[in-house]
């Protein structure tokens, strides 16, 4: 077989291989997170970021364990999206951005010289605030990442597209119209399509930047349900301005304010018994 075709083609309908447990891989020498025993999947150490001369992130350190949902909350402009977008280096697109400190994903140094950004973005997927499907068919949207990575076998693409759409809880609604334009779907469906698109390339991490803020309550509920389902196979980080949502879906929550990580704890603890006063003020609505 030519080097182009993948050597392992296991995916059959309904079965996608799971990533190996983190413990087997090389682990960064980092102190474990609050109540976590497993090696963290994502971590930041003294990570700072500047937009030009404006310091948007101030020495943020945190560890996010694998197969969990972590929420990042905080008022507008606190840097939560900036932090999120650093994990898959989407901030590279903005001219004048400068970073300091370390960030790792599954042991891979995100900002390292030798790091392949394309591979990083395959492993760390992203879902955006406003659904942004391509003006192509539903099928072509989900297949996009696969084709860019060099997968050409039609049968393999079809299999993975179906699997991803099932995982994103969208298959039943679109299976009869895969050739129709993605733009004909409703907002909630489009967002689930974007999730499917992201799942198709088998990421380990899914970053979600306010994934439901542009959607109506019903669609929001479905997305939240989906996040809880996906947690079994992926590490998920969700930025949200909706505290109730954070409380509903996340295992851990990080609270940020003006670029600093104020508090990071198991969700239940952070919302019922926060350690820092400002956190309590924010949660109780004294500012925001």
């Amino acid at each position: 077989m030519s080097p182009e075709t993948p050597t392992v083609t296991e995916s059959r309908i309904g079965r996608m291989p799971r990533p190996e447990p983190r413990a087997a891989g090389p682990a960064p020498a980092a102190p474990a997170a609050a109540a976590g025993a497993a090696t963290p999947h994502l971590s930041a150490r003294g990570f700072s970021l500047w937009y030009g001369s404006f310091k948007a992130l101030k020495s943020v350190s945190l560890d996010i364990p694998g197969n969990s949902v972590t929420a990042i909350i905080g008022p507008s402009g606190c840097g939560k999206s900036t932090l999120l977008r650093s994990f898959n280096r989407m901030n590279d697109l903005i001219p004048g951005v400068r970073v300091e400190g370390a960030m790792t994903v599954g042991g891979l140094d995100v900002f390292g010289q030798a790091t392949d950004v394309v591979e990083l973005r395959r492993r760390v997927g992203m879902v955006f605030q406003r659904p942004n499907p391509f003006p192509k068919s539903i099928f072509d949207n989900v297949a996009f990442g696969l084709r860019m990575l060099g997968v050409t076998a039609r049968s393999e693409i079809e299999g993975r597209v179906e699997t991803s759409l099932r995982r994103a809880a969208l298959w039943d609604e679109v299976k009869d119209r895969l050739d129709r334009s993605a733009l004909q779907l409703s907002g909630g469906q489009q967002q689930r399509l974007c999730i499917a698109r992201c799942l198709a390339i088998e990421p380990e991490v899914i970053l979600m930047d306010e994934p439901a803020s542009a959607l109506d309550p019903t669609a929001t509920a479905r997305i939240e349900e989906l996040v809880l389902d996906l947690k079994a196979h992926y590490t998920i980080v969700v930025v949200t301005h909706n505290m109730q949502q954070a409380a509903r879906i996340s295992d851990r929550t990080a609270f940020m304010l003006t670029g600093e990580l104020i508090e990071y704890d198991v969700t239940k603890t952070l919302f019922t018994n926060p350690r820092v006063k400002i956190t309590e003020d924010y949660i109780t609505g004294r500012f925001g």
Binding site: N88, M90, L93, P95, V118, E119, R121, R122, G125, M126, F128, R130, N132, P133, F134, P135, F144, G145, R147, M148, L149, C194, R197, C198, I201
Partner: protein, 318 residues
């Protein structure tokens, strides 16, 4: 004198009177500007009316498919139509790749403050302002005398490349229309939302993959607009092709890019200025003008409709 004329309201009354005077001037100004607009519409109507009136009878099927005969007093203009078509096709083939490539560079790769970027933008802006006869001189001095003769010398030929031909005329027109394609393509690329780029890159696509699979397909209507506009201009410009390949009467159709060609605009020029018997050639002349106009209008209309669709899409998104 009543209290009103001297009291605090007096100023107001006087101002009212002055305002009414001033209003007459204002009304005059408005009327004048309206008259200017009317004049434009009227002149266009007159010109178009005149051409259609005297030309429509001449444009028959035979006129479009036959060659000229009897010293341009009878027959048709098919060779000119064919020559014009061949010319713009060659021009588009040479022009669009470079124009679109340059626009992609400016939109995706260029750093705004780099000297190269500024040089490119400066060149695009000023190429658009070069007089068309200077393009004709350039075509003669560079393509024919320099490149063409150089090729002849290098290949040991007598005079094959170093003379007016379809090829050189098409290349000259391609350079003339380069700014049009670059500007419209860049405009089209700008209408593609930033979120599309982000989505593609976040999925692990490279910059070129993103351009090719996401940006270019979505910018296609705009790119087509630019190509069509360039064709319309290419079909209408005469000065650049007068010395680089156009001919008045050829007994054959151009079969290769090294042949000379008849062309609609050039045909109008020669018929109008050098006909021995103006009255006899008048029908052919008006007919040719009408065909040329219909051609350029059809092209421009298509481009305008495409552009409107593009703008609607941009508006719908925001």
């Amino acid at each position: 004198m009543s209290a009103a004329a001297t009291g605090p309201l007096a100023g107001g009354l006087a101002r009212g009177r002055a305002a009414r005077r001033v209003d007459a001037a204002g009304w005059g100004f408005t009327a004048l500007s309206g008259f200017a607009a009317l004049l434009i519409v009227a002149m266009v109507a007159v010109i178009m009316g005149n051409i259609v009136w005297f030309g429509w009878r001449a444009v028959t099927w035979d006129f479009l498919v036959k060659a000229p005969a009897e010293g341009m007093t009878a027959g048709g203009i098919f060779p000119a139509i064919f020559g014009t078509a061949a010319l713009v096709v060659l021009m588009v083939v040479a022009l669009v790749p470079f124009g679109v490539g340059a626009a992609i560079y400016l939109h995706e790769y260029a750093r705004p403050e780099a000297w190269f970027t500024r040089a490119v933008r400066f060149s695009v802006n000023n190429l658009a302002g070069v007089p068309s006869i200077v393009f004709g001189l350039f075509g003669l001095g560079f393509f024919i005398q320099f490149v063409g003769r150089g090729m002849d010398r290098a290949l040991g030929l007598d005079v094959v490349w170093g003379q007016p031909s379809l090829m050189w005329a098409a290349l000259t027109l391609a350079l003339l229309n380069l700014p049009v394609v670059i500007v419209t393509t860049e405009e089209a690329l700008r209408t593609v939302g930033h979120d599309q780029r982000e989505a593609s890159l976040a999925l692990g696509a490279t910059r070129w993959q993103t351009i090719r699979n996401v940006l270019l397909p979505q910018a296609m209507p705009g790119i087509l607009t630019g190509a069509i506009l360039s064709v319309s201009r290419g079909a209408g410009e005469v000065a650049p092709i007068m010395f680089t390949g156009a001919a008045y009467f050829l007994p054959y159709l151009p079969a290769s890019p090294t042949d000379q060609f008849m062309e609609l605009g050039y045909h109008v020029f020669v018929l109008a200025t050098q006909s021995p018997d103006v009255d006899q050639t008048r029908p052919l002349l008006y007919g040719t003008v009408l065909v040329l106009l219909l051609l350029t209008f059809a092209l421009n209309l298509t481009a305008i409709l495409l552009r409107a669709r593009l703008r609607a899409r941009l508006a719908g998104r925001s």
